[in-house]
């Protein structure tokens, strides 16, 4: 193990490189979560629709994603899709992560949508609201609020999963840490440093989710 003074010196000495890497990690995470929410909502709606075939499509998507390792999905998108048309590395990684997060987010949304009392939909419909309007105005806002705690969890997983983008040579946090570590024959120090960065990012993310949860909880007070 490195001494504390050595760890601290290396930490402060490498901030420039790590800040850049952290920004890339954040970009990857932000894109993959935002796109993942859109994908997730889309497949959750397919799943709860009355059309069976659409439900099956959603099932297959979730099964494929949950049934294969993320690193395999990233490689398939990186090597496979890039062979068909040119996909910038960033987008190969971001889309693979989004595609992956989307399946878990779809399951979160499906669960919370189905957890809303059916009477809410009936009340909305009895007021003359079409189903799509009732979903948008009545069901989804409530489902989204209930989804926040598990979503926050998924965001944290998504943030840490972005480290796998290192394997398609994205210079995000993990990649920078291992590269610097082996270049300086000092792996452990850099791994500890990168752990600190991840901990800080997760702390910020947790704080944001908690704030958002509190803001949406007004109606319970």
């Amino acid at each position: 193990m490195p001494s504390f003074s050595h760890f601290f010196e290396t930490l402060t000495g490498s901030t420039n490189v790590f800040i850049d890497a952290m920004l890339l990690t954040l970009e990857l995470t932000a894109v993959s979560i935002l796109v993942g929410i859109v994908i997730g909502l889309f497949f959750a709606l397919l799943k709860i629709s009355n059309v069976k075939v659409l439900g099956y499509i959603s099932d297959i998507y979730v099964y494929l994603v949950r049934g294969t390792p993320l690193i395999v999905q990233i490689f398939i998108l990186y090597f496979g899709i890039s062979g068909i048309f040119l996909l910038p590395d960033f987008w190969a990684a971001a889309l693979a992560l989004a595609f992956h997060n989307g399946a878990y987010i779809a399951e979160i949304f499906r669960g919370t949508i189905q957890s809303i009392d059916q009477g809410q939909m009936e009340a909305a419909r009895s007021l003359g609201m079409p189903k799509s309007l009732a979903l948008r105005r009545i069901i989804l806002p409530q489902a989204f609020r209930r989804a926040l705690p598990p979503l926050g969890n998924q965001f944290i997983i998504g943030l840490k999963d972005s480290s796998l983008a290192a394997f398609i040579s994205m210079n995000e946090l993990f990649n920078v840490a291992t590269t610097l570590g082996s270049n300086n024959f000092d792996e452990m120090t850099y791994l500890l440093i990168v752990a600190v960065y991840y901990l800080i990012l997760v702390a910020i993310l947790t704080l944001l989710v908690n704030l958002f949860e509190k803001k949406l909880a007004v109606s319970d007070r």
Binding site: Q120, A123, R125, S126, P130, L133, S219
Partner: protein, 248 residues
């Protein structure tokens, strides 16, 4: 006296859930400004009948004629029909993420598409009517059951329906809160609102009802004006039912 308009006419209505035949050849009529009380023991089909009236349950066969027009979910826009048929639920079903005011203006602004300030004006008048004008900006979770149900009534009224359906509106309430909801309903009836009420409140049915419909085992066993129904029932089943409910 001029003849009352028929708001709802039901002919030979049948409905099954799987093997369970819950509504058997129901014939019924609701006249304008009348209060029809549907009574009967649990499982007799009265709630299902009520839910068929605004198509929350799909009938198997028979006719549902509303204001002279036969309604079929396949051919008519059910949303348009539902705008004219308000419904009040046993468990209120207020939208928990919206304030009292937002609950009431939701459908008028998004379905009837009236301007928001007009909807707010109307909502405030309705809140005065149900005696909750001081709760405008409160969330439903802060209200008692009786208050929630009165907001639910105001919400249904905001669509200016021609008829209001009540599905056991006081069954989920603490006993001391039942009165305030029944009073609101009675005032509505006095204003001339057409109402169909599924209820276990015999006192309410006797006092406010214009017509009592007694159901048993999916059939309408007896229907009569309350004076006749409660003091001089014809059917054996009705006598038994009245005897058990008066024991309370």
């Amino acid at each position: 006296m001029e003849e009352q308009k028929t708001i709802v006419r039901i002919k030979k209505l049948n409905k099954s859930f799987g093997d369970l035949h819950v509504l058997k050849d129901i014939d019924m009529k609701v006249l304008e400004s009348d209060v029809v009380c549907l009574i009967g023991s649990s499982g007799s089909g009265k709630s299902t009948l009520l839910r068929c009236l605004n198509f929350l349950e799909k009938k198997d066969n028979g006719q549902i004629i509303i204001e002279g027009e036969e309604i079929n979910p396949g051919t008519q826009d059910i949303n348009k029909v539902r705008e004219k048929i308000g419904m009040v639920f046993q468990h209120f079903q207020l939208f928990p993420h919206m304030t009292v005011l937002e609950n009431i203006i939701e459908a008028p602004t998004h379905v009837r598409k009236i301007p928001k300030n007009q909807a707010v004006e109307e909502a405030k008048e309705l809140l005065v009517k149900v005696g909750l004008e001081d709760k405008t900006d409160v969330y439903p979770s802060k209200l008692s059951g009786g208050q929630q149900q009165r907001v639910a009534i105001a919400r249904a009224l905001a669509m200016k329906p021609d008829i209001l359906l009540f599905d056991e509106p006081t069954s989920a309430l603490d006993p001391e809160l039942v009165g305030e909801v029944l009073t609101t309903m009675k005032e509505l009836a006095e204003d001339g609102m057409t109402m169909v009420v599924v209820t276990h409140e015999m006192g309410f049915a006797r006092e406010v009802g214009d017509w009592i419909v007694f159901m048993h085992d999916g059939r309408i066993v007896e229907s009569a004006p309350p004076e006749v129904f409660f003091s001089n029932p014809r059917e054996e089943r009705t006598k038994e039912f009245l005897k058990t409910t008066s024991l309370k």
